[in-house]
Amino acid sequence: MPKVLIVDDSDSLRSQLKKSLITAGVDVVEAADGVQGLSVFQANTDVKLIISDVNMPNMDGLTMCSKLVQLPAAKSIPIIMLTTESDEGMKEKGKAVGVKAWVTKPYQEDKLIMAVKKLCGM
């Protein structure tokens, strides 16, 4: 079962997403902000995909991704970014740090699951 890391400061979003991901046959680990996300990733290097929020306390999603790409284990891991708004600059920045797809919040569950499955090669 592929493992997915969810990084979001909203407990309810995380638990909801976790529930639907587990139903879709995906293993889930969670983190509440970028700092936590990095440490959770280092404890779970078998993670196949990361779903992260952009705006978070302590460390935002894009900063986290820019730190992640420096880790050899995280180099080729696709990232799905959750955001309410994204401009051109943000998109370019994301592209440079491994963001494979952008998803707006509130997300459409079926489509997000489809994207997760595709990026996990399921």
Partner: protein
């Protein structure tokens, strides 16, 4: 001709490499040959010298062996000779000796000595065993022989004798050997002569007695030794001739060897010389051969390479020509090697190319034609597409990454946008009238920034965010555009453009909206209808009676902006109760709407003062609430044929009619009032509690009574059951005041009552009655009819002596009740539990009444009547909570059931609604906050279905209602924590609280255990509202008991009695 100047031509390469190989191999061969020749020379020299040495050695060996052989032959010869001589001589001697002829012996030996020059010594001597005596001794030193008698001294080994008379002495070591021998012997020895020492053979033989022959002698000598020899003959024979022969032999050999060695040396010398000259000649020839070979090789290689490169060059020229497009080439290369094959292949290739070229040319001609055809077809298609695009009633265009509109653009685009859009920005054309900050617009923008240059995955994720319906103002007209999107991906699968298909759907939408509105209205109606249909008519009546009043109250309050801040809680309570009732009756639509309004009111709490409150909005919301209620009412009236509102309107109409036409005659007035009678005969007339309505009803009643009109028994019955408590108590109050003739006090009282419009209205109504009549009897009638209330009864009894009018009221009441009771005997049921209440106080009342000399037989019917009229069994109204629990729990995904225990208790009709309001709150709280989800319950070992038990107990005039639930209960610590968080309790205070006190914190105003607002039980638990209802409306107490994890018990206790006094005190 194009010359081919290869950097390093094949020819040169071939020559260079061949010559190099030859040169190297020759050099190596030369060196080897040189070394070889040297070795051959050395070999020959060593062979020659070895051969000469070998020859010398061989000759020397030959010489040695030949001398040996000579010597051997010689010795043999001597031996044989001497042996023969000895044999012969010894035989002769024996004879001589036996004859004793010394002289003859002497002569014999002397002759032998003389004849043979080689015999250097000759002797014959005898040995008698003691003495050796020479018969004859001669040698070269003594050639005349020694004298006879010469003896040999055995001791000294010397001969001692005389020669020519002189004494001589000389050694002869051989003698001892001779005398030992018994046969002939030859021994090599040496003899000292004048010429020096010479080699000799010493030959000797013993001479025996005569033998027949020599054979006998030999046998004799060998075997027997029997006879002693008579003497010994001895010859010493010189070997000098032998030596001479050997010497001669050796000398000749030596000479020969020397000759041979000289020849060998010469040969060696010649051989060496020959080697040197041979070396030189070989080297010279080798050099010449190398030169010749190199020279020849050069020309041969040159010839060969020219032979190879010439056809190659020719091929190259041909290839160059072919490469320039001159495919038709004659290739004259005739060679049977690989180049020949290459040339042939080239020939084939060239001809194939020529053929292909011709074919291609042929094809091209066809293709040109085809292209021409296709182009014209395409042009036609394009024209069709263009036509299609132009004839479309849609705007079709694409945008690129920068949001720019790109062709093709359909003609209709101009109609929609009223401008040419190609090259424009989509944000300025299509999205210009969007609220940029709205969530949808943001999502749309985000989608457009993320999809370009990405794959279909990103498109799939974002597609849903693109706006499907967009408002646009064109020529100051609001239009609605419907947009469909088509992604256009490039070859790499990345999004390049998005095609927009835009349609103006303004009219369509408007039509749709209207249809939708109608549909929605119908749906609402049908929803309302469904909701109404599931209730019984009486309940619906009760509901409207309640909520109209509450809504009116809220509306009135909201119209006082200056005191809105203070009224807010009151408005909230009114709305909350409306919502609660709506939920209880299953009027979901109304309930959820009022919930929203309620939340709005709660939100006002945070506003600092009334200026910040949007009063208009609040009023609008409340007005809408009223409208919704009216909508429900309308539908109910229409469908259920219950004219709730129509009747109200009728009363209003009659009222207005009468008020506006005071000059109407009495009969017309009577007719008007009588027209209302059927309505008043039904309970609905009395159950509506809004003040306006009540005022009307009360007014009509006053009028009717005032005019001395008599309504039907049905009317009386209904009236008795439903008369307004407020009216009764106001009348009682005013009556008392009237008795004290204190009109001013009434006015005074009204002044202090702005916040209680209900009472105010009642008072006004009463004033109106009192002012409009001076007949005490009418007043008496009015008051008398109110006697039905237990509290009033107490009041009247207590004050019976204080006023003759009260006395009269009581009498009158009794009479009326009596009449009533006589007419409705079937109602009288003394066994009703409610009766007990009355009975309990009966003694004091009857005791006082006795003084009034009232015939006692009147009392029982009065009692019956009172009980029936005022007290209703609680159980009936509890029934409504079954669907409430069911509905609420299923909405929350929980499982709960209601259990009712007891409930036969009778409670005053006017307290029932208050109790119901409280119960609604409490039961909803239990379902919402108490009962856990089925999963949680299962986890905690509880049955999945929670139970809520309403148990009713009675003890005298007290009623106790307990609401149990087996949910999670309340945690005292949690409540303390919340209270501290909310700031109305300090930590040190909290520490001092007992668990029970902590639980009761929940009754604090605005306390909330739940952070989010729930549709089910509103903000928090609203326990303060419940407490207020219990305390104020029921005059009772509420208490709470919680077992965390196991459940909670709320207990409400109140008296069945109505305490008018309390109200009166408040009013005062």
């Amino acid at each position: 001709m194009e010359t081919l100047n290869a950097k390093r031509p094949l020819k040169r390469k071939l020559i260079q490499s061949t010559l190099a190989i030859l040169l190297i191999s020759f050099s190596v061969a030369s060196v080897l040959v040189f070394i070889g020749i040297d070795k051959i020379g050395a070999g020959i020299v060593s062979l020659v010298s070895n051969r000469s040495e070998d020859t010398t050695k061989m000759l020397n060996e030959f010489s040695t062996s030949s001398t040996g052989r000579i010597r051997e032959n010689f010795t043999q010869d001597i031996r044989n000779r001497s042996l023969n001589v000895l044999k012969k001589d010894s035989g002769s001697l024996v004879q001589l000796f036996q004859d004793n002829s010394f002289l003859q012996v002497k002569e014999f030996v002397q002759n032998v000595f003389k004849d043979d020059k080689d015999i250097l010594r000759a002797a014959f001597f005898v040995y008698d065993g003691k003495q050796i005596t020479g018969w004859h001794y001669v040698d070269r030193n003594y050639p005349q022989a020694l004298d006879m008698g010469t003896e040999f001294n055995l001791k000294t080994g010397e001969w001692v004798g005389k020669y020519k008379g002189a004494k001589v002495k000389f050694e002869d070591p051989s003698v001892k050997d001779i005398i030992g021998s018994n046969g002939p012997k030859i021994v090599e020895s040496k003899l000292q002569t004048a010429d020096g020492e010479v080699e000799v053979f010493e030959t000797y033989v013993p001479v025996y007695q005569k033998f027949k022959d020599i054979k006998e002698m030999e046998t004799q000598v060998k075997s027997a030794r029997g006879k002693n020899p008579v003497g010994y003959l001895r010859y010493t024979i010189s070997l000098s001739s032998l030596q001479k022969a050997i010497k001669t032999e050796q000398e000749s050999l030596k000479k020969y060897i020397t000759d041979i060695e000289g020849g060998n040396k010469q040969t060696l010398k010649e051989t060496t010389e020959l080697g040197v000259s041979l070396k030189a000649s070989i080297l010279t020839q080798l050099g010449i051969a190398i030169f010749v070979l190199l020279f020849g090789a050069f020309f041969f290689v040159r010839y060969t390479s020219i032979k190879i490169t010439t056809p190659v060059m020719a091929l190259i020229q041909v290839a160059q020509k072919i490469s320039k497009g001159e495919y038709k080439q004659n290739i004259d290369v005739v060679t049977d090697d690989e180049v020949g094959i290459l040339a042939n292949t080239f020939k084939d290739m060239s001809s194939a190319i020529v053929k292909r070229d011709e074919e291609l040319a042929e094809l091209n001609k066809g293709l040109e034609k085809l292209v021409e055809q296709r182009t014209s077809q395409l042009a036609q298609e394009m024209k069709k597409v263009r036509n299609l695009l132009d004839s479309m009633r849609q705007s079709v265009f694409s945008i690129n990454k920068t949001g720019e509109v790109v062709e093709p653009v359909s003609k209709f685009s101009e109609t929609i946008f009223k401008t040419s859009i190609a090259g424009g920005k989509v944000t300025e054309l299509l999205y210009k009238d969007l609220d940029k900050k709205s969530e949808l617009a943001v999502a749309n923008r985000t989608a457009l920034t993320t999809v370009f240059d990405e794959d279909d995955l990103q498109w799939m994720l974002m597609e849903g965010n693109l706006l499907r319906e967009i408002p646009l103002v064109v020529d100051s007209q609001k239009r609605t555009l419907q947009v469909n999107y088509n992604p256009i991906f490039d070859e790499a699968g990345k999004l390049e453009q998005i095609m927009y298909i835009v349609e103006d759907v303004t009219e369509e939408r408007e039509l749709k909206r209207q249809i939708e509105e109608e549909r929605k209205a119908n749906q609402e109606k049908s929803q309302v209808l469904t909701e109404l249909a599931s209730q019984n008519v009486e309940d619906i009546g009760n509901f409207f009676a309640n909520v109209f009043d509450l809504a009116q109250n809220a509306k009135n309050l909201s119209q006082q902006p200056q005191s809105l801040d203070g009224n807010r809680a009151e408005i909230f309570r009114a709305l909350h109760t409306i919502k609660g009732n709506a939920k209880v009756y299953g009027f979901e639509k109304l309930g959820s709407y009022v919930h929203d309004v309620e939340q709005y009111v709660v939100g006002l709490k945070d506003k600092a003062n009334s200026e910040q409150i949007d009063c208009d909005h609040l009023q609008k919301e409340i007005l809408h609430t009223q409208r919704l209620i009216t909508q429900y009412c309308d539908i109910a009236e229409k469908v259920l044929k219950i004219p709730f509102k129509i009747k109200a309107l009728k009363i209003k109409a009659v009222h207005n009619d009468l008020m506006q036409n005071p000059e109407l005659d009495a009969a017309a007035k009577d007719r008007a009032y009588y027209s209302l009678e059927p309505f008043f005969a039904e309970s609905e007339a009395f159950t509506r509690s809004d003040a306006q309505w009540k005022k009307l009803v009360d007014w009509v009643l006053h009028e009717v009574i005032d005019r001395g009109m008599v309504f039907s028994a049905k009317f009386e019955n209904t009236y008795l059951k439903n008369c307004s408590e407020s009216f009764v108590r106001t009348v009682a109050y005013c009556e008392r005041e009237i008795n004290h003739n204190k009109d001013s006090a009434i006015i005074e009282a009204t002044k202090g009552l702005p916040a209680a419009p209900e009472l105010f209205d009642d008072l006004m109504a009463l004033r109106h009655v009192l002012e409009s009549t001076s007949s005490f009897e009418i007043k008496e009638k009015i008051v008398g009819l109110r006697f039905a209330t237990a509290d009033l009864k107490n009041l009247l009894v207590e004050n019976i002596n204080r006023s003759p009018s009260i006395y009269m009221f009581v009498i009158r009441a009794f009479e009326l009740v009596n009449t009533y009771a006589t007419n409705h005997k079937s109602i009288a049921k003394v066994t009703d539990p409610g009766f007990i209440v009355f009975e309990k106080n009966w003694d004091s009342i009857s005791g006082k009444l006795e003084k009034l000399t009232l015939p006692l037989n009147l009392w029982n019917p009065v009692k019956e009547c009172l009980v029936t009229a005022n007290y209703v069994p609680l159980r009936k109204s509890l029934a409504r909570y079954f669907p409430l629990v069911e509905l609420t729990s299923s909405k929350l995904g929980k499982k709960a059931r209601l259990i009712v225990k007891g409930g036969e208790a009778f409670v005053p009709n006017d307290k029932l609604e208050s109790l119901n309001n409280a119960l609604t709150h409490l039961i909803r709280n239990s379902v919402d906050h108490g009962i856990e989800s089925p999963e949680d319950r299962a986890r905690n070992g509880k049955a999945e279905t929670g139970s809520i038990t309403v148990a009713v107990f009675e003890a005298g005039e007290h009623v106790r209602v307990e609401i149990h639930d087996d949910g999670k209960g309340l945690s005292p610590d949690y409540l303390k924590k919340k209270a501290i968080e909310k700031g109305f309790l300090k930590p040190e205070q909290a520490a001092k609280l007992s668990d029970k006190e902590a639980i009761e914190l929940i009754f604090k105003s605005e306390f909330s255990t739940k952070d989010s607002v729930s549709d089910i039980s509103g903000r928090g638990v609203g326990m303060d509202a419940v407490k207020e209802i219990v305390a104020k409306d029921l005059g009772g107490t509420i208490s709470l008991e919680s077992k965390p994890g196991q459940g909670m018990i709320v207990t409400i206790e109140f008296s069945k009695l109505v305490h008018v006094n309390n109200h009166l005190k408040q009013v005062a």
